[in-house]
Symmetry: C2
Subunit: 233 residues, 2 copies
């Protein structure tokens, strides 16, 4: 899966960001680097410091437009530190990595160092990825952004784990119905006090919300609650 | 909490890694930088490129030994790409960040670019943090390692969330007993078929294993199972 993911750098100005990207990619099992009109490439600094990731640089594709770089991709994720009022869904790096792992051909796009992605470039993307930071210093160094995304992709690569079927995440509505069902059941079996269920319910919400729950998992959990109801008659 | 965490760079040789570290720290709300015998510091490149993270560099403490850098710390996490046979517990970045957030004074220590931390330096640490990578290219660029750790610290900073009590994680033994109890209960309520419970149990294990379960959470889950048993008489 990782080998199908493209890392696209748009109009990169510092060679240092190109070698650092190549190294981060190689560490994390990525190897498809696309460079849209880089200012300097190839560049001796990038080659010298890629230190073992030379192969990623050697097979990097230099293209003239973002459209060429993402041609054939089914999902395109654009990273941006600026919040904008565009009709593009916003994901954090983990959510983006989990989505990316469910697709065949995926690209992550990173803008120019100072300007980031333009609105037009971001509108070529299906999702806008926002790396969480403190409010007053939100712009990550380009190579640092690539590292965070590459790391999340690597640790969310299910193909490294035992093969299990994966499916869509449950929606917020479905989770709300589950929590209602759970609370009702826990009151019925006298685990929760009818008057004050909130403390324990809050802990349970936190437990289930820490990771996105898949639809199949939610079906299992609701099936369990229904079975508890039935055995009580 | 983030403001209590020290980032310690030992014998850093490239000024670029110092400014990149300062930027990553500032993005992620960290501000205590310790430099143990850096080769060049201050250095004009580092200052020029810190771009907004100058304050982190200005208040960086330059010290002569690792012992000085970690003095007063209750937990010390040493990062290393090399697996070693030392009696130090190994954590991934997420586990390390979650542990770090439960302590007052914490340091994350990063070794020299080429050599990494020496065995003696790593033995000053309570934990060894290993950033997951592909097997055949496991050494991250220093600044990239700092970025991964800083990112995990930031997204695991519970003080940003609603205050809830946090406690220790359940152990593998406790989780094994929970899964036995869960399976027994699910068979009792006729949710699982006695002869072939494994498919559903595997999905449930994956759900609960995706995040470390805290002891308090496990107590709640086992309490629910016990209540189900009681209502059935």
């Amino acid at each position: 899966m990782l080998s199908n993911i493209r890392i696209v750098l748009v109009n990169t100005t510092h060679p240092g960001n190109i070698w650092a990207t190549a190294r981060s990619m190689k560490n994390m099992g990525l190897n498809q680097l696309y460079l849209v009109q880089p200012k300097f490439f190839p560049h001796q600094d990038a080659t010298a410091r890629a230190a073992g990731a030379d192969d990623v640089l050697e097979k990097a594709k230099v293209v003239a437009t973002l459209a060429e770089a993402i041609a054939g991709c089914k999902q395109v994720f654009g990273t941006s530190a600026r919040k904008r009022s565009l009709p593009v869904a916003i994901l954090n790096p983990r959510q983006a990595a989990q989505k990316a792992m469910r697709q065949e051909n995926v690209a992550f796009v990173f803008g120019q160092e100072r300007a980031g992605l333009s609105n037009d470039e971001l509108l070529c993307c299906n999702y806008h990825v926002y790396i969480p930071t403190v409010d007053d210093f939100s712009s990550l160094n380009l190579a640092a952004s690539v590292q965070v995304i590459a790391y999340e992709l690597y640790i969310n690569d299910f193909s490294k784990e035992a093969k299990l079927p994966y499916d869509e995440f449950a929606t917020a509505d479905e989770m709300a119905l589950f929590y209602q069902h759970l609370q009702r059941t826990l009151i019925d079996i006298n685990f929760l006090n009818h008057d004050n269920p909130q403390h324990v319910m809050r802990r349970l919400r936190r437990l289930f919300n820490r990771n996105q729950i898949e639809k199949t998992e939610l079906n299992i959990l609701r099936g369990i609650l229904s079975s508890i109801g039935k055995t009580r008659g």
